[in-house]
């Protein structure tokens, strides 16, 4: 499953799942753009990939800013070529229930998680349509099904699911596939900061009883990114160890 010479833009790629996707794609031969609001960290991550023999550049972008997104794609094309693969990964999570979430938190979550997908997908699609090929991969979350204290996050990620299906339908005739990954419990430094009793409870609610790794998500992203996989589009694939099948609602 090679991505040889394909140009891949991955947003929110300076750390976590986005970085794992960038590293995986680069190892598969793609030329990757690590796009992140933290431009210095994006540059550092790109440097690490280059030191391992990959092709990567780091670019700063605020995915909620239309002009900034436009510049991202222009710089990508100028430095590496037109984008073949877009991974919409940038996102934030606000753990706040309906009684406490503020207007600002709601708007910011929707802006980054949902509007960012719209702006980046629009820019990528305009480039891909003319070439009659492309892959867009959106990172949603298992939480879009609904979860305690995640009203804004779940709503925004539900929007990503719906956007995936609409984009898939609209862009299919151009040979562009649009798919979505919905990770569950993924082992990240942020998650590891949870108290042990919380971790135990989370794992008990998990059919496979284990955490996933960012590389699990990256692997699934690579499947969707593969130019050969033209017959799979509009799919929502949960990388969640079965948690999407049934999760014990042990916390509230």
């Amino acid at each position: 499953m090679g991505l040889n010479e394909k140009v891949a833009v991955i947003t929110g790629a300076a750390s976590g799942i986005g970085l794992a996707v960038a590293e995986d794609f680069a190892a598969s031969g793609a030329k990757v753009v690590i796009a992140d609001i933290a431009g210095d960290r994006a540059a550092e991550a790109a440097e690490r990939i280059r030191s391992n023999g990959g092709t990567a550049i780091g670019l700063a972008v605020d995915v909620t800013d239309r002009e900034g997104v436009q510049v991202l794609f222009e710089q990508t094309e100028a430095k590496l070529g037109p984008v073949d693969i877009l991974v919409n990964n940038a996102g934030i999570s606000v753990d706040r229930g309906v009684r406490r979430i503020t207007d600002e938190e709601w708007q910011r979550t929707i802006a980054i998680n949902q509007t960012g997908v719209f702006l980046c997908s629009q820019a990528a699609a305009k480039s891909m349509i003319g070439r009659r090929t492309g892959r867009i991969i959106n990172i949603s979350s298992r939480a879009w099904l609904g979860w305690f204290g995640q009203l804004a996050y779940a709503s925004s990620k539900g929007g990503v699911v719906s956007a995936t299906r609409s984009l898939a339908i609209e862009l299919a005739k151009y040979g562009i596939t649009v798919n979505c990954l919905a990770p569950g419990l993924i082992d990240t430094p942020l998650l590891r900061r949870e108290p042990q009793e919380v971790m135990d409870r989370l794992l008990q609610a998990q059919p496979m009883g284990s955490l996933g790794a960012a590389s699990d998500v990256a692997w699934a992203a690579r499947f969707f990114a593969d130019p050969a996989n033209h017959a799979v589009t509009g799919q929502i694939l949960y990388v969640c160890g079965g948690k999407s099948l049934y999760a014990q609602p042990a916390s509230s």
Partner: protein
Amino acid sequence: MTDTQLRYPRLAVLASPGTATSKAVADRLQSTGWVVKTISEAPAPEEIDALLAGQETIDGLIYEPGLLDGSTAISAGSVVDSMLKLVNQLRPHLRPRADGGARILTISSRDGLGWPNRPHIAAAAGALVAVSRSLALQLGPDGVTVNVVAALPPLGSVLRDAGRPAGTHLREPEPLTPAPVTAEDIASTSEFFLDTRSGYITGQVMYCCGGASLLSSLSV
């Protein structure tokens, strides 16, 4: 997935009536280093015994009952019974969790979303999704994943030429993407689920249909 990390020759058991789809899956897996042993979709005990003679561990089990290739003797009850029997027989031989676990894959049909002139296939396809999700929950603690590829009948299938269902205004579903769905596309999707790196993906249904299933409410 030609860069699959092969620590040892991986063994896949493919249970199928011998369709074009199953041949494509076997060819694909063999081309990437798998050893593939085929058995019938409802094997007799002797067939299982022969399969296991001298075998150590099974990495992948693919159940492909022929829903995509126009098999006529399909019923929801028969495919569920066959799959459960097969899984129960082979379960002790599946690679254990400590060694990476095993993969079970069902190849089903997007007809499970409902199709007017194939209600038996639709029921069987839907039942296979339900049984696979249940098995995913049952076998998850053992590191065994269970997933479904629900495909459009591929190019060459007699179902592609089935024509307009009598008494309806509907046409046979077509991909939204430019190219037809082939047995090789189904094989590629199957290989993804069978890979060791797909170990955190279980209970999923992947439609390999070029988007033909997207406007069904059940497809999300």
